[in-house]
């Protein structure tokens, strides 16, 4: 990545105060606790992790749908996390979002036509030829032409999701955040929408932040993967490198849970003990040490930093720090 990345998130933090009042101190949910990544033009970065690990919050924070607690978000090298609402508005066009639930992501009181016109009206695009543009958009997401005059409830889940994608495309963005965009769909429809997203990306040169918990889908469509655990990124790598040789014990466990469509395939399942600790009270040291099969003393006290082990492969684990990881492994065992 020689040029400036399209999107650069540096150490973003989002804490939510929960409860509390005049006299009680609010507890703080550390949903995102220092996450950094970048996305180049036309690239797909997948953000994977269990539910509750903060991946959706990262998506919303990048879109500035929630204000950041700290950290920076740069779009094309320009900071957007501290812009005022009015200064941000023109930049909003460049980042769009597709949500998980196709039923709540469309206003039931707006016809498809109005749904698609809204972004154009807002950003002053295609003034005077909206209808032609709507036809193009519907064509792009492979919906019938007569969809424009219909209401959202007349469509199936997969079709609605495509309307949502068309709405995002109507703004002609550089980056689309897909927040579990296909998780709620049937397997067959899921495949259609995934293929559609891939085609659109190839045709329009879109960058994507693909938030998902489904590694099978992610493997199919991403360039790079960032694995999140409890508000932090534990491993970032190219897709092949990550699937071939996961470094972080958590990534290993995640990958071992991906179903293999091959009867009788021999594989080692890593079953993680216990639950994800509460983000209100994250464990000291490495956040994963409570469930990590290789945890040793240092993991409990010192938080590992994200560092490169190979070109483009970053991992935050003490196992991969020293000159000889094998020795450490032996010690842990």
């Amino acid at each position: 990545m020689s040029a400036i990345p399209l999107l650069q998130a540096t150490d973003i933090v989002k804490h939510f105060p929960v409860g509390g009042g005049l006299f009680a101190k609010a507890r703080i949910v550390r949903a995102v606790d220092g996450v950094s990544f970048e996305i180049a033009r036309g690239e797909t970065l997948s953000l994977v992790g269990e539910s509750g690990c903060g991946k959706s919050t990262v998506g919303r924070a990048v879109l500035r749908l929630v204000p950041l607690t700290s950290g920076q978000v740069l779009l094309d090298g320009q900071r957007i996390d501290d812009l005022s609402a009015s200064a941000l508005r023109p930049l909003r066009r460049r980042m769009q979002v597709v949500f998980q639930d196709p039923f709540s992501s469309l206003n039931p009181r707006m016809r498809v036509r109005d749904v698609l016109i809204e972004p154009m009206r807002n950003f002053g695009l295609h003034e005077g030829r909206w209808d032609a543009r709507i036809a193009e958009l519907l064509d792009l997401v492979r919906l019938p032409k007569d969809s424009a005059g219909r209401w959202p409830h007349e469509f199936s889940g997969g079709q609605r999701q495509r309307i949502g994608i068309a709405r995002a495309l109507a703004a002609e963005p550089d980056l689309i955040v897909c927040d579990e965009a296909v998780s709620a769909l049937d397997v067959s429809v899921k495949a259609q929408v995934v293929n559609l997203l891939q085609d659109l990306q190839a045709d329009l040169g879109l960058a994507m932040l693909f938030i998902s918990h489904d590694l099978a889908i992610v493997e199919h469509m991403t360039h790079r993967i960032a694995v999140m655990y409890l508000g932090r990124i534990v491993e970032v790598a190219e897709r092949r490198s990550l699937f071939a040789a996961p470094k972080h014990p958590y990534t290993e466990a995640l990958l071992s849970a991906v179903p293999v469509p091959e009867p009788g395939a021999q594989r080692r399942r890593i079953i993680l003990a216990g639950d994800v600790p509460s983000p209100v009270n994250p464990p000291s040291g490495c956040r994963f040490h409570t469930r990590c099969p290789y945890a040793f003393d240092r993991c409990r006290s010192e938080e590992p930093a994200l560092r490169a082990t190979a070109a483009g492969h970053l991992v935050a684990c003490h196992l991969h720090e020293g000159p000889d990881p094998a020795k450490l492994l032996a010690r842990a065992a």
Binding site: L88, R89, V97, F99, N107, E118, W151
Partner: protein
């Protein structure tokens, strides 16, 4: 404009509620009739012809000497027996069905103060010799108009206030809520009595005063709807599209919050009518002499020997409120998503 299926279903549901549908028609007819009260109950003819000349006294004020030579150069008194004789002799006149206005003193024999219902005064006269039916018609009009205006303006303010609270939430919401708690604790009636001591209440001042407090009725519901609505994905998507806050509120959340709001409106309307009636009853309402249902109730109480006053007031006020409640129930049913068209559950 084509109606969306959901609107059509609601209309069908509303019609399916016979009681509400009939109530709406009766109320509508009465209201329209009362809007033309000047043609129904007036102290002058609608049209008159004297010596071949045309007069439209309801619409134009004529001086007495314009109409006939025996008249004074002041406004013509069409009830003047001599003028009536002259008209009968030299032309004709079409009178409204009730030849009195709300403030016309009925003159005649037998004495006209508190006279019981008769062919001359269908519902009798009150303690100031005014025709009760004429007063009821004008009083109904002013009550309903007052109610409509108050409901409309307070709903607009209430919805806006609730929307801002719910949409922005957080500190805005907190401060606003505390303000409403304090503001709603103000003793309205005492303030009104103080106000009435300083200035004479009129339709407008009364309206403004009641508005100060009545807008709070809807804020709670609207706030709740907006608190829910602002977290919907399509609202988030609209924000990501850079849609302005006002537009997100008006276009994306409000239409979905309107159901809860509309359901309330007929009940707020009946509440407003009641408020005006009770203020008039206590004497802190519209200026003396104004036709008013509340004042009629007060007369009924003061003149128990003239039961037609109390009975009329009861029937008119009770009937109006009942009609409004029936309409309100039908509206509520129409917006009930579980209700099937045709009245079935």
């Amino acid at each position: 404009m084509t109606l969306s299926p959901i609107t059509r279903r609601r209309l069908a549901n509303f019609r399916a509620n016979r009681r509400g549908w009939i109530s709406l028609w009766i109320f509508g007819a009465l209201f329209v009739l009362s809007l033309f009260a000047e043609l129904v109950a007036n102290d002058r003819p609608i049209v008159a012809q004297v010596d071949g000349r045309w007069f439209f006294p309801v619409f134009v004020e004529y001086a007495g000497d314009e109409v006939w030579e025996g008249g004074l150069p002041t406004a013509a008194d069409w009830h003047d027996p001599e003028l009536r004789q002259a008209i009968a002799a030299r032309g004709w006149a079409i009178w409204p069905p009730i030849p009195y206005r709300h403030d016309t003193l009925v003159i005649g024999d037998p004495p006209t103060v508190l006279s019981p219902p008769s062919a001359r005064n269908w519902l009798g006269t009150d303690d100031q010799a005014r025709d009760v039916l004429a007063r009821v018609i004008y009083g109904f009009r002013i009550s309903v108009l007052f109610g409509f205006t108050l409901t409309l303006i307070s709903s607009v303010i209430g919805i806006a206030a609730g929307a801002v609270q719910g949409y922005y939430g957080g500190l805005t919401d907190l401060l606003f809520q505390r303000f409403i708690e304090i503001w709603s604790g103000m003793p309205q009636l005492y303030l009104l009595i103080i106000l009435a001591a300083v200035i004479e209440p009129s339709f407008v001042t009364l309206l403004l005063f009641l508005l100060l407090f009545s807008w709070m009725g809807l804020t709670g519901v609207v706030r709740a709807e907006f608190l829910r609505g602002r977290n919907l994905d399509y609202v988030r998507a609209a924000k990501a599209l850079g849609v302005s806050d006002v537009r997100v509120m008006a276009r994306h959340i409000l239409p979905n919050a309107m159901v809860a709001t509309l359901t309330f409106l007929p009940f707020i309307l009946s509440g407003s009518v009641t408020v005006l009636a009770s203020l008039d009853f206590l004497g802190f309402g519209l200026p003396p002499g104004s036709p008013s249902l509340g004042e009629l109730v007060a007369q009924g109480r003061n003149n128990l020997q003239a039961p037609w006053l109390g009975i009329t007031a009861f029937v008119v006020l009770g009937g109006t409120l009942t009609l409004l409640i029936f309409i309100g129930e039908a509206v509520r049913d129409a917006f009930d998503p579980r209700k099937l068209p045709g009245g079935g559950r």
